[in-house]
């Protein structure tokens, strides 16, 4: 399979130079995600992807996607949560199609084998006492001892002891053997809402930034989701494929007429979290997600166990973040929590901001030992990707079962 750089080349303008920053976190077992019965031996694994592109030394786009794996005895469910995507207005090349980049990246992630995530999982807990007795270099290992350990590894290479070490190392991590699973469910979940900025703080102040209305943004994402769902390389077009759209507070007939008519036949109103009479237990808990915040409030109010999905969507409409014409200031908080690691302290009233944004990638980038960051566009698949302009708040989801 082609690597990401190769794939992106095909959708970037011909003979132009771009820098690609793709960061992937290690896979980690997490506690939450959904209400579940721990006795059932379920395991939830999370991994984050972050992609950003620079042109002329300036970052112009970034997207943040979290992937969750729910592993039970009988099946594995993979959920892509598109957390944030943003531009900053510093792209001075009209031939770059952001929608195409987003579509390509999501497709790429969907095509990555789940093995990439499930071979080496940081477990919820470890017996550190055990680890510290073994010849591993960890934060407590003295520098002098660290060199002795490394030295022994080189002298042992190819010997039996060295093989044992590799086995020990494997025991530090959890591995999910995918061979025994017949079914892998893939879900994509995303939330569209126009905001002046998501990942580039204050970038909304840049007059050159292209801000879409709620309606336009929804249509933009619908188009991407529709194209991905129709990609036969990813989803076999069988009866299990299903894409859903829900606009809290909006009539289903209206949604169908206004948005779904022009999309493929597998689109429906509703959600992938269950039927309207179901409990809220099927709604995943995502990081920094408006409906997750609402879910948490319901937990505080002891309504989480009582409400049905239908009531949830009805009440969600009343949330400030879902009301029309309200600019919500939640972005600052996300910035503090984790975006600071990507891009720090930009001034968006001048171009230096975008240049510094790129420079701020350095530490994080290098920590991951990523090497190839310069690519040249080939524009093979760069068909027209137009955007239509209006305001709404909505959720698009679709899923597919593999036989």
């Amino acid at each position: 399979m082609k690597d990401l750089n190769e794939i992106l080349k095909d959708v970037l303008p011909k003979d132009e130079q771009f820098e690609i920053y793709h960061l992937q976190s290690p896979s980690r077992e997490i506690h939450g995600f959904k209400k579940r019965d721990i006795d059932k031996n379920e395991c939830i694994v999370k991994c984050s992807h972050f992609l950003s592109l620079a042109y002329n030394g300036k970052i112009f786009f970034a997207i943040d996607i979290n992937i969750y794996f729910e592993i039970s005895d009988s099946k594995v469910t993979r959920t892509l949560f598109i957390s944030k995507a943003d531009t900053n207005g510093f792209l001075d090349n009209g031939n770059v199609k952001i929608g195409l980049i987003v579509e390509t990246f999501i497709s790429y992630l969907l095509m990555l084998s789940p093995k990439n995530y499930l071979n080496k999982i940081i477990p919820l807990s470890r017996n550190y006492k055990n680890i510290h007795d073994k010849p591993f270099i960890n934060k407590k290992t003295s520098t002098a001892k660290g060199y002795k350990i490394l030295s022994k590894r080189y002298s042992d290479k190819g010997t039996k002891e060295f093989k044992n070490l590799n086995t020990d190392e494997k025991n530090l991590f959890k591995t999910i053997d995918l061979e025994k699973y017949k079914e892998i469910v893939t879900k994509i979940s995303l939330f569209t809402r126009p905001e002046p900025h998501y990942l580039f703080t204050n970038s909304g102040e840049n007059p050159k930034k292209h801000l879409l209305s709620g309606e336009a943004l929804l249509r933009w994402w619908l188009k991407i989701a529709n194209k991905i769902s129709n990609d036969k390389m990813i989803f076999k077009q069988d009866g299990s494929l299903c894409a859903t759209l829900e606009l809290p507070g909006e009539e289903h007939g209206f949604i169908e007429r206004r948005y779904l008519k022009e999309l493929s036949c597998f689109w429906k109103t509703g959600t992938i979290y269950g039927n309207y009479s179901d409990s809220l237990f099927g709604i995943p808990i995502f990081h920094d997600d408006p409906k997750t915040r609402f879910l948490k409030d319901l937990m505080v109010e002891n309504k989480y166990n009582i409400l049905t999905l239908k009531e949830f969507w009805r009440d969600l409409e009343m949330r400030q973040e879902f009301r029309l014409g309200v600019v919500v200031g939640v972005i600052g908080v996300c910035w503090e929590n984790f975006i600071e690691y990507y891009i720090v302290g930009e001034e968006y009233d001048n171009e230096e901001g975008a240049i510094d944004a790129r420079n701020n990638f350095n530490a994080i980038w290098l920590a991951h030992n990523k090497m190839n960051f310069n690519i040249t566009g080939r524009a093979i698949f760069q068909e027209k990707y137009e955007q239509k302009p209006q305001q709404e708040v909505n959720i698009i989801t679709f899923r597919r079962k593999k036989k």
Partner: protein, 281 residues
């Protein structure tokens, strides 16, 4: 037998060469650690006579130590405010390095009649040990902490007899008793937190004696004593509010907000969010 080495042999030769280099670096690191210690000893040896001189000069400056301790940015984190009344009586203070890890601190207190607090000079000695079998209570320590103590060592000290001021009679562990005091536990705990309890600190009863007693000792050894002249001058600054000072009055938050908040509504919204996030279910 073939003279030429196989690819595997070459690889293994190369690995052995790297292996040796890495082992050599381990030795270098040990040498550098010894050098650090040697430099430290050298510093102590040439600093000591100057500190001695300084000690005698400071004796002539009223309120020198009072000024230093009152304005030191971290000192007050270790003890209750009520202790300052007695620390203000400190006529002089001396730290003597006994080795590169062990040291003693000598406190020379003036008397305070109204508190039945006599003039007293006390020397408390601190020694580093790695022997965790000396510990008397370990239940409050995690395995990880114990491991660290074993590897990097921990400070210990003999208890020192000190006369407590009468102000503290109700929390003085020598004067209260479980039998007669109804708030014994609470008072005992309050007493444990005063600087007088620190003189009794051993380093062997984690969670049952003056808290962070080693941190307090190290503060004297590493910062207050070697840098007292600097701290004194900082306290005596005529202009306290220069722009760009780290102890400036301008708060970081305010600075940051300036560039960020366009209007008041935004600010409200921003402030709402963190509290929501912190809410525990």
């Amino acid at each position: 037998m073939a003279k030429e080495m196989s690819e595997k042999d070459i690889l293994s030769e190369e690995n052995l060469k790297i292996s040796k280099a890495l082992r050599d670096l381990s030795d270098i690191e040990e040498k550098l650690e010894k050098i650090d210690e040697q430099v430290n000893k050298y510093r102590i040896s040439i600093t000591e006579p100057v500190f001695e001189e300084r000690y005698n000069i400071i004796a002539n400056i009223p309120n020198f130590w009072k000024t230093v301790l009152q304005t030191h940015p971290e000192f007050s984190d270790f003890i209750p405010v009520s202790d300052f009344k007695f620390l203000d009586l400190l006529k002089n203070l001396k730290v003597v390095m006994l080795s590169s890890t062990d040291f003693s601190i000598t406190f020379q207190f003036d008397e305070l009649k109204e508190s039945n607090f006599p003039a007293q000079t006390l020397t408390k000695t601190f020694k580093l040990t790695k022997d965790i079998t000396k510990l008397k209570y370990t239940s409050k320590l995690t395995d990880e902490q114990l491991e660290d103590m074993q590897e990097f060592g921990f400070l210990t000290s003999e208890p020192i007899e000190i006369t407590w001021p009468s102000d503290y009679d109700s929390i003085n562990p020598n004067k209260i008793s479980m039998k007669t005091d109804k708030d014994f536990k609470q008072n005992y705990r309050a007493g444990m937190k005063t600087v007088f309890a620190w003189f009794n600190w051993t380093g062997l009863k984690h969670g049952k004696e003056f808290p962070n007693g080693d941190g307090f000792a190290n503060l004297f050894m590493e910062d207050i004593y070697p840098h007292c002249l600097k701290h004194y001058i900082v306290a005596k600054r005529d202009i306290e509010d220069e722009v760009g000072e780290s102890d400036s009055e301008v708060e970081e938050d305010e600075e940051e907000l300036e560039g960020f908040n366009i209007d008041a509504i935004n600010e409200d919204e921003q402030n709402k969010e963190p509290s929501q996030k912190k809410m525990k279910i």
